[in-house]
C-alpha cells in the first residue's frame, strides 16, 4: 500500500470522527480533481460551485461507508459524478435529453461553430446539447461504459451510443482546428458500407 493511501486512510479515520483538519486536508488534496469533474459536467461555473459544495458534503457524509476497496479518489470521483448528475437532473430535467439531441442541428449554426475554433475540447463540449454532452463526458472523459451510462441516466445503451456518436461528430466539427484533416465536408454524400 502506498504512502498516499496510508495517509488517506489515516485522514479518513480522523475525518469520520469529525476532525476539521483531516476533513480539510482531504478536501484540499482532492478538490482540484473532484471540482474539475463537477465543473466539466455542470458546465456553468456558478452552478458547479453550488453543486461542488453538495458533492463534498455528500462525500464526507458517506465516509463511514468507505470500505477502502477502491482508492479514495476513485470512490470520491464516483460520488461526484452521481451527485452532479442528480443535481443536474433536478435542475435541468435532463431526462428530456433524447428529445433535445434530435433538435441539435437547429441549436448550433455553422457560423457559431467557427467561433469555437479557438476553444478547448471542454469548452466545445459545453456547446453540445446537454444529454449528448453528458453522455460524451461520461463515456469519453470519465470512462463509463454505455451500460453504466444507461443505468445512471435511465436510458438504453443504444440511446447512449447514439448520443455519443452524435456528440463526437459535432465535436469534430467544432474542433476541426485542433485535429488534422479537413473539416467534414458538408457537400459530400455519405453512405454506410457497413455490411
Amino acid at each position: 500500500m502506498s504512502d498516499g493511501m496510508n495517509t488517506d486512510r489515516f485522514l479518513i479515520r480522523r475525518a469520520i470522527d469529525g476532525d476539521e483538519r483531516a476533513l480539510r486536508q482531504l478536501w484540499s488534496r482532492y478538490s482540484p480533481h473532484i471540482d474539475a469533474v463537477v465543473l466539466r459536467l455542470a458546465g456553468d461555473p456558478d452552478l458547479a460551485a453550488d453543486i461542488a459544495q453538495e458533492v463534498w458534503i455528500q462525500i464526507f457524509r458517506a465516509l463511514p461507508s468507505y470500505r477502502g476497496d477502491a482508492q479514495f479518489g476513485t470512490w470520491a470521483h464516483r460520488i461526484a459524478v452521481n451527485r452532479t448528475l442528480n443535481a443536474l437532473r433536478r435542475i435541468r430535467r435532463i431526462g428530456k435529453r433524447e428529445v433535445e439531441i434530435e433538435d441539435d442541428t437547429a441549436v448550433v449554426e455553422e457560423d457559431s461553430d467557427r467561433a469555437f475554433l479557438a476553444a478547448s475540447i471542454e469548452r466545445a463540449a459545453a456547446r453540445l446539447p446537454e444529454g449528448a454532452r453528458t453522455v460524451f463526458l461520461l463515456h469519453d472523459v470519465e470512462g463509463y461504459t454505455h451500460e453504466d451510462i444507461a443505468r445512471e441516466l435511465g436510458i438504453t445503451t443504444g440511446a447512449s451510443k447514439s448520443q455519443l456518436f452524435k456528440a463526437r461528430a459535432k465535436l469534430r466539427r467544432l474542433l476541426a482546428h485542433l485535429v488534422d484533416g479537413p473539416t467534414p465536408a458538408t457537400e459530400q454524400t455519405h453512405a454506410a458500407p457497413r455490411s
Binding site: 470522527d17 469529525g18 476539521e20 466539466r40 458547479a48 456518436f165 455519405h190
Partner: protein
C-alpha cells in the same frame, strides 16, 4: 465516391470497422483522415480526465460551516459521525487485556520521562524498597527473553510505586503552579492519551505505541492524584 457517415466515423474512433468499412477506409483518404481525427479527439477527451482546477470551486469556510450544520464536522466539545473520539476509540475488553499485559511487560519506561522521573535513576525509587532498576541493569546483556521480561516486570512495578510516591509527595510542582498547573497537565495528557489510543487502535499489537498510551494514562492518574492533594481539605475529584 460515397463516404462513411460522420456518426459512423465517430463510432469508429474506438470501434472496429466491418470488412466493407475497412476496405473503404483503405481506399478513401478522406474517410481515413476523418477516422484518425476522431481518434485524436478521443485521445484529447481522455486527457481531460486528469484535468484539475487551480482553485477549489467552494471555499472552506462556507463548506466547513455546512459540514458543521450537518454534524459531519466536529467543533470543540462535539462528537463526529463516528460518535466522537472517546466513543469511537473506546477501549474494548480485548484491548484492555492487551494493555494490561503490555503494562506488565514494561510500559513504564517512557512514562518515567513523562512524569519527570529520571529514566533509570534509582535514588527515589530505591527508597521505596523492592528491586529497583539500575543503570547497570539497563545496560546488561540479557541471557534470555524471560530474563528481559522479568526486568521489565520489576521496572513497571517500580514505576508505579514511584509514580504513587511522587503524587503523594511532590509539593514542588504544587507550589509552582498549583491547581492550574495540574489542570493544564491533565488537559494535555488527555490529548496525548487520545492520540495514543488512536494509534493503538491502528496498531494494537505494537508494544511501543501501547507504552505511550499506558504511560500517558499512568501520568494522568498521578496528576489527578496530585490535583486532589492540592485541593482544599474535604474536596476530592474522582474524575476530570
Amino acid at each position: 465516391m460515397l463516404h462513411l457517415d460522420p456518426e459512423r466515423l465517430a463510432a469508429l474512433a474506438d470501434d472496429e470497422p466491418t470488412a466493407d468499412e475497412a476496405t473503404h477506409l483503405a481506399n478513401c483518404p478522406a474517410c481515413a483522415r476523418e477516422r484518425a481525427a476522431q481518434r485524436e479527439l478521443l485521445a484529447l477527451a481522455l486527457g481531460e480526465r486528469d484535468a484539475v482546477l487551480p482553485r477549489p470551486l467552494a471555499d472552506w469556510s462556507t463548506l466547513s460551516a455546512r459540514l458543521a450544520e450537518e454534524g459531519v464536522l466536529r467543533r470543540a466539545g462535539e462528537e463526529g459521525m463516528g460518535g466522537g473520539t472517546r466513543s469511537r476509540f473506546r477501549v474494548r475488553p480485548w484491548m484492555r487485556a492487551a494493555a494490561a499485559v503490555l503494562l506488565v511487560l514494561g510500559g513504564g519506561i517512557i512514562g518515567r520521562a513523562t512524569a519527570g522521573i529520571p529514566v533509570g535513576g534509582s535514588s527515589d525509587v530505591a527508597s521505596l524498597g523492592g528491586s529497583a532498576v539500575t543503570d547497570a541493569d539497563s545496560a546488561r546483556a540479557f541471557v534470555s527473553l524471560e530474563d528481559a521480561v522479568d526486568l521489565m516486570r520489576r521496572s513497571e512495578r517500580d514505576y508505579r510505586l514511584a509514580a504513587a510516591y511522587v503524587a503523594a509527595h511532590d509539593s514542588a510542582s504544587a507550589s509552582r503552579g498549583g491547581v492550574d498547573l495540574y489542570r493544564a497537565r491533565l488537559a494535555a495528557l488527555d490529548r496525548v492519551s487520545d492520540a495514543a489510543l488512536e494509534a493503538v487502535n491502528e496498531a494494537p499489537a505494537d508494544p511501543v505505541i501501547n507504552q505511550y498510551l499506558l504511560s500517558a494514562r499512568t501520568a494522568r492518574a498521578v496528576t489527578l492524584q496530585q490535583l486532589n492533594n492540592s485541593l482544599p481539605a474535604g474536596v476530592s475529584l474522582t474524575s476530570y
